[in-house]
Amino acid sequence: MKPVINAENLTKRYGSLVAVDTINFSVNQGEMFGFLGPNGAGKTTTMKMIQCISPKTSGHLTVFDRDVDTHPREIKRMLGVLPQESNLDPDFTCFENLTNYARYFEIPKSEAGDRADRLLSFVQLEEKRDVPIEKLSGGMKRRLLLARALINDPQLLILDEPTIGLDPQGRHLIWEKLKALRAAGNTIVLTTHYLEEAERLCDRLVIMDDGKILVEGSPQDLISKYVGSDILEVEHTPSVTACLDAMNARYEIFGDIVQVHTAHPREVAKDLFEHCNPGRVFARPASLEDVFLKLTGRVLRD
């Protein structure tokens, strides 16, 4: 089967700045595909090229087998987009925002009204139907943006940080909705800074940094490949590191904490307690966050 999105050596420059640097990826039909990466990694830029609103500098990019440069209208007709920065129309109410947007897709008026009401209840905003946008909370705006992205019944959803600024309930609600959409056969591409979210939702994901794709794979594969199945956190003392070196363990030092990557947490913990008086030892399953921090470092990005 042909991939829904196919990017080969995709590059985007803003003047001399290389925002996306010869990346390759493809997204398959029915898959939930994630883009992770620190601030400025190039995620939004990549989303905008897929949406045909920002022209690529070089490389090859097709969506539904159509070239983004030559067939933007056809592609955009099949897309549902949730932008990182809200751009709801402040001159309209929630309901009008949806029906007005439906017009851009040439959806007939009565059909648009039906869809708008259905989507408002889908994102649990029925009560805000006739309220102007300025009276919504940040989380409600996010949900309305999701509803707007669905107005044209899109085959491909591009969601740029769909759950940013949401409370835990709001986030769970969106997760549930996204799972439902995927179950209905939609292809979903999303970016997020919430690694737990990516781990729960994504079938496959890439981690980007500095315009490049560092790794690609399913969350589980990436975790076991880059950090192993479990993590032990031990206080950082010279005797502990000496011990770990003697055991030939894989570990990393973060300030006053040593993280040991292992598939056998019990054995390692036992060894540590027997031979080198480690103080407190804390064991937990490895997560995508560990992969992320390992690959992109712990230094804050600007």
């Binding site: 803003y14 920002s54 955009k76 809200s86 751009n87 709801l88 129309d89 001159d91 040439e106 044209n152």
Partner: protein
């Protein structure tokens, strides 16, 4: 990159027009007030007040002389301010353009829709004003009815010029420059409140060759006084050519600003 150079205008531009129409009629009470009030104020103060001292110009009562200028000025203002300040707010603060181009609409559709709306606003304002002027009995019928379709064209000219400023302005405050340096002088020196012939010959030529409002006044005055100016055809062609020119330029400049 080449494919980004081809204009991409479609019927979807009308959806943008329709969006602005809907918003306009949400607050129509406020929006319809100025075209009713403005001509009344000008007619009373300048037409009848100042007119007392002026008497007639070229054998025409002063109120009747300035009535077509008021129509031309309203066409200019309605479209120009719509496509500068209002379009800028939609583009920059409300991110409305950004939301639109994520749909099948192209940026060219969006800009075209905005321009058509600016022209429509001129049409609405001029029509209301024409009604008021008719009630005052200062315009000739039926020829003056042609003002209604003409106001769309006149508005489109100023919409296209305005959109170019919007595309290059660094911020909303900088839009004050074209307002004060371009619109205000034109308001006074386009044969609006006194004939161009009283000005030095070089200024006259400059006004007839370069000022868009001069062309609008020539046409509106020909229609409301039922006396066609020898420059009528010249002005009409001038308006059409310059509109096309600035339409193309505004599309180009907007792409340069927004497609990055």
């Amino acid at each position: 990159m080449d494919s980004y150079l081809i204009p991409r205008i479609s019927g979807l531009a009308l959806k943008v027009w329709r969006r602005n129409w809907d918003v306009f009629f949400k607050t129509y009470q406020v929006n319809f007030l100025p075209p009713f009030i403005e001509p009344v104020l000008y007619l009373l103060a300048i037409g009848f007040g100042l007119g007392m001292f002026v008497g007639e110009i070229d054998g025409v009562p002063y109120v009747n002389y300035i009535a077509p200028a008021l129509l031309a000025i309203s066409m200019m203002n309605a479209a120009f301010f719509e496509c500068t300040y209002s379009s800028y707010v939609r583009m920059y603060y409300q991110k409305t353009f950004e939301a639109m181009i994520a749909t099948p609409l192209s940026l060219d559709d969006v800009v075209t829709g905005e321009l058509l709306w600016g022209a429509t606003r001129s049409l609405i304002y001029s029509s209301v004003m024409l009604l008021v002027l008719t009630v005052f009995g200062v315009v000739d019928l039926p020829l003056s009815l042609l003002i209604i379709p003409f106001s769309f064209l006149g508005g489109l000219l100023f919409a296209c010029i305005a959109m170019c400023f919007t595309a290059i302005t660094p911020g909303i405050d900088a839009l004050n420059y074209p307002s004060f340096l371009f619109i205000t002088p034109m308001f006074l020196f386009s044969g609006t409140f006194f004939p161009l012939t009283v000005l030095p010959p070089t200024v006259q030529v400059l006004a007839v060759v370069f000022l868009p409002l001069t062309q609008l006044v020539i046409i509106t005055r020909s229609l409301t006084l039922s006396s066609i100016s020898p420059l009528f055809l010249y002005s009409l062609i001038w308006i059409i050519l310059v509109t096309v020119l600035f339409f193309v330029i505004s599309l180009r400049l907007m792409r340069r600003r927004l497609i990055v």
